[in-house]
């Protein structure tokens, strides 16, 4: 049995020899092999200087089409997937800390020097180290597909949503419709995961997710229709620009409430966390997922969380509009932070609803209210409020 | 605390009037009445006790007496709804032979005895005729030793 000290010693020894030997391999490759193959010799210098000089690194990346202004960078890093995943992990940490404070606990405390800030990284390594258990009777193809689909779905949502007038991946005249078209697919991922698990509790969870879809999908779309009537556009850019003087939360207060409730339902958060109601159906559709499978499913859900919070900010809170002393993106992120808090907080104070109660809320209340909201929008539009 | 002995004596008297010498009053103490009868009269005695107002079986259990070759079966019955009878615990007792451990169930009179009788069945091997679920409740399904609460079952390591 290896003691901890021996373990550390072993790792340090390996590291020492690696650092000692690696230049012996890297330098010959850079200075001998690269010129032999006919590549420009200055490149080797640039690579080495780029590792310590960020500006040179950006220049180098630009030359090969992966710089900050390239499409690849936009999709992969900012404002695309990496940024969203970063926000999602921060949301997980923030949620845990906020819940802990509400419940008179301390929450994550030990990972990282300050208030457990490195806890998401610790969690990531824990999930990476776990065995991927695939049930014997599971439908293997779809069981593996569901986590990837979940994450892919979250990433696809990011394509057309702008973060500021200049920060976006792609522009579209229908940038409001596209995210909702993609979101409509998300219960199917849940159902694929549930059915492929071949587990009764997962199956019930999947069916509940479909019921939930029926309850919230229609009011969600109807609630944003009011804004479309007011602005006459499906373009998020134009919608945000239309809020220069007044945020839409004031003329469309009812729609904001409906949209907020349907966000909670879409994200399967308390009080609508029926598909993964722990004490009733174990973990619902997540029951059979372990390790990084589970991690990817959760990451997909939290990327969706980020996107929906962002949509709420853009639609109702005026997006990046704000006094000019701060750049637009800072205003956006500030509002986003507020919306995320609002979405997290019900978990601390509300119990879970039942599926019949959810459907009653969705059909009897939210749909009726969103039609009333449509009338309000029509009246406001004809009176020229906006 | 006023003594309930008058009430208790009245209760016992009404039962002895009805059953004459078929029942035997073991004792009437403060808040405790115990009446024994033979195996055949247990059901009619239980019916009469229920008519007196005692409505719940709080406990039912057996005791093994290998010397006399009998099981002693007791039902402890209480009343929760009538203030006057609440303090009294009424026990009815009977003895059945270990050779034919069979007795009629009381769950049609006291539904609350259902799981208790099931427990007595698995712990003593006493069959309650008329009970809908004479099967193992607490013991493992594959228990193949003698029923554990009999005195001839010795705990492993305690022999």
């Amino acid at each position: 049995m290896e003691t901890f000290e021996e373990f550390v010693k072993r790792i340090l020894t390996i590291l020492f020899w690696f650092l000692l030997i690696s230049p012996l391999i890297i330098f010959p490759v850079l200075f001998l092999l690269v010129p032999l193959l006919g590549i420009d010799v200055t490149l080797a210098n640039e690579i080495l200087t780029a590792t310590i000089d960020p500006f040179k690194a950006i220049k180098l990346a630009d030359r090969y089409g992966v710089g900050p202004s390239s499409t690849f960078f936009k999709v992969a890093a900012f404002p695309g997937f990496t940024f969203a995943a970063l926000v999602a992990t921060l949301v997980i940490l923030y949620e845990r800390k906020l819940m802990a404070k509400a419940q008179l606990r301390v929450g994550p405390l030990y990972a990282g020097r300050f208030e457990g800030v490195l806890q998401p990284i610790a969690d990531l390594f824990k999930l990476l180290g776990k065995e991927l258990v695939v049930p014997e009777k599971a439908d293997k193809t779809f069981f593996w597909a569901a986590p990837i689909l979940s994450l892919g779905l979250g990433a696809a949502l990011l394509t057309v949503i702008p973060l500021s007038p200049t920060t976006y991946i792609a522009r579209s005249e229908f940038s409001l419709l596209i995210p909702f078209a993609i979101i409509g697919f998300s219960p199917l991922v849940v159902l694929i995961a549930a059915w492929a698990s071949s587990n009764k509790f997962a199956f019930i969870g999947g069916l509940r997710a479909l019921h939930q879809l029926a309850a919230y999908e229609i009011p969600m779309l109807l609630s944003i229709l009011g804004i479309v009537i007011l602005t006459g556009s499906f373009d998020l850019m134009k919608i945000v620009e239309a809020q220069k003087d007044m945020w839409f939360i004031f003329p469309q207060f009812l729609a904001a409430i409906i949209f907020y409730i349907t966000i909670l339902s879409e994200l399967e958060r308390v009080p609508f966390d029926l598909p993964e109601a722990e004490t009733e159906i174990v973990s619902g559709w997540l029951t059979e997922y372990t390790g990084m499978h589970f991690g990817l499913l959760q990451l997909g859900v939290y990327v969706k969380f980020y996107v929906l919070a962002l949509l709420f900010t853009l639609l109702f809170l005026g997006g990046w509009n704000g006094p000019a002393f701060l750049p637009p993106i800072v205003w956006l992120l500030t509002k986003l932070f507020f919306v995320i808090t609002m979405i997290i907080f019900p978990r601390a104070v509300l119990p879970r609803l039942r599926i019949d109660q959810l459907i009653r809320i969705g059909w009897a209340w939210l749909i009726a209210l969103s039609f009333i909201n449509l009338f309000i929008a029509v009246i406001e539009s004809s009176l020229g409020v906006i | 605390m006023p003594s309930n002995l008058d009430t208790e004596n009245q209760l016992v008297k009404s039962l002895t009037d009805q059953f004459k010498n078929k029942i035997k009053t073991e004792y009437v103490k403060h808040n405790r009445i115990k009446i024994s009868t033979n195996q055949d009269n247990l059901k009619s005695l239980a019916t009469s006790v229920k008519e007196l107002g005692f409505e719940q079986v709080i406990s039912h259990g057996g005791t093994d007496y290998p010397d006399n070759n009998v099981f002693r079966i007791e039902y402890h019955i209480i009343c929760v709804s009538k203030k006057k009878l609440r303090s009294i615990m009424f026990s009815i007792m009977t003895e059945i032979s270990k050779d034919t451990p069979e007795i009629e169930t009381l769950i049609d009179i006291f539904p609350s005895a259902e799981f208790h009788e099931q427990e007595t069945y698995e712990n003593f091997g006493i069959t309650f005729t008329g009970h809908p679920r004479m099967e193992k409740l607490l013991l493992p399904e594959d228990w193949d030793d003698i029923p554990p609460l009999r005195k001839d079952y010795i705990l492993p390591g305690r022999g």
Partner: protein, 373 residues
């Protein structure tokens, strides 16, 4: 499709058999086999016994003192609630009586344990309804009462504190001040519990009218404790058949007429207040004096029998001890409240929705370890 292996039992319809437990976050050491038709439960068969250890048989091999920690084990959450009736029964067999001061300290311990047990229940009920804050708060406040009980009994949960003839040791001198401080704090917390949980419209939507038990059914099925009082019957062994010195204190029996899950919750919440009221009165009544009647040698019972019932946290705890004059009891019969409430669970679950199962199951305060013994 490979998924034909999913094994949905064909019951001649769209019915699905679910094994809830023993490895289920909402079951405990206990299985309940439910058959669901759509969202409705059409059959429920409880399967206890996963933690059955034969406590009654093992008690026959131990003497009266050894049996105290042994019989405490099934209900460590309510340790005094389960040892007190045993000790009272043993006292009747051995024929000793505890002095007044010991009786009062026993009452304090019993009521502290009732609060500890109820708070544990409340925490689990919160998480069963998906309310995580209501899980954390009572669990945190429970520690205060555990600290109080620890200062008397010496350990956190398994005190083995009550012994035949009295109690093991006297309570600390500053106990009254500490306890009153805790009570003051906790009375404020009860109001906060009400704000966040009991008066929460979503909580009442989940529990009101769910698992309604009729008064007649409750009596017929032998339901006991808070579950019985929630049906409108003010039966409490502490008043029905006084033990210790409960006749010298004045307290109310909280009751509700509705008999649903919410009524069972609110009755338990009010019992917390009543327990504190009892303890406050005991602090005024208690006088210095001996705490134990010392019994020399090995305790031997007179040949005979005794049965005692007391009000434990979950309902009426019943002990029946038969003695043949030896140092070990001849037969110990324990009738625990959870075991008697189990029959009500089947009764309530059939016809309700699957999502209501946790709301009904834990509102009965069923403690699998206690039921299995």
């Amino acid at each position: 499709m490979q998924n034909a292996a999913m094994n949905i039992e064909d019951k001649g319809g769209d019915q699905l058999v679910l094994h809830v437990g023993p490895q289920h976050p909402g079951s405990g050491h206990f299985r309940i086999i439910v058959t669901v038709d759509g969202d409705y439960i059409v059959g429920a068969k409880p399967d206890p016994g996963y933690v059955h250890r034969g406590a009654e048989k093992m008690a026959e091999y131990r003497d009266y003192i050894q049996n105290i920690p042994h019989l405490e084990r099934p209900v460590i959450i309510d340790a005094t609630g389960v040892t007190l009736p045993y000790v009272l029964t043993a006292e009747k067999i051995i024929d000793v009586e505890a002095p007044d001061r010991a009786q009062y300290i026993r009452m304090i311990m019993a009521e502290l344990n009732r609060i500890i047990s109820h708070l544990y229940w409340l925490g689990i009920y919160g998480i069963f309804l998906g309310h995580s804050t209501m899980f954390m708060w009572p669990m945190g406040d429970r520690e205060l009462f555990i600290d109080l009980a620890e200062s008397i009994g010496g350990t956190r949960v398994t005190f083995s504190y009550v012994v035949p003839g009295g109690v093991r040791n006297d309570m600390p001198t500053n106990f009254k001040e500490r306890a009153l401080k805790t009570f003051d704090y906790f009375e404020k917390r009860i109001e906060e519990y009400k704000k966040i949980f009991f008066n929460n419209p979503l909580m009442s939507a989940r529990t009101e009218g769910i698992g309604t038990m009729d008064k007649k059914d409750a009596i017929r099925l032998g339901i006991t404790g808070s579950n019985l009082r929630a049906c409108g019957i003010d039966s409490d062994t502490r008043k029905d058949e006084t033990y210790c010195l409960y006749d010298r204190v004045d307290f109310e029996i909280p009751t509700r007429k509705e008999g649903d899950s919410y009524a069972r919750c609110i009755v338990r919440l009010e019992e917390l207040q009543q327990s504190m009221n009892i303890m406050k009165q005991v602090f005024d009544l208690i006088e210095p004096g001996p705490i134990k009647q010392v019994i020399g040698g090995v305790m031997r019972g007179e040949p005979g029998e005794a049965f005692v019932r007391t009000e434990a946290a979950r309902g009426t705890m019943f002990y029946h001890i038969v003695s043949d004059g030896e140092k070990n009891p001849y037969r110990v019969k324990i009738s625990v409240p959870s075991f008697r409430n189990l029959i009500g669970m089947t009764h309530l679950l059939v016809g309700s929705r699957l999502a209501d199962m946790p709301a009904i199951y834990w509102s009965l305060d069923y403690w699998p370890v206690e039921a299995d013994r």
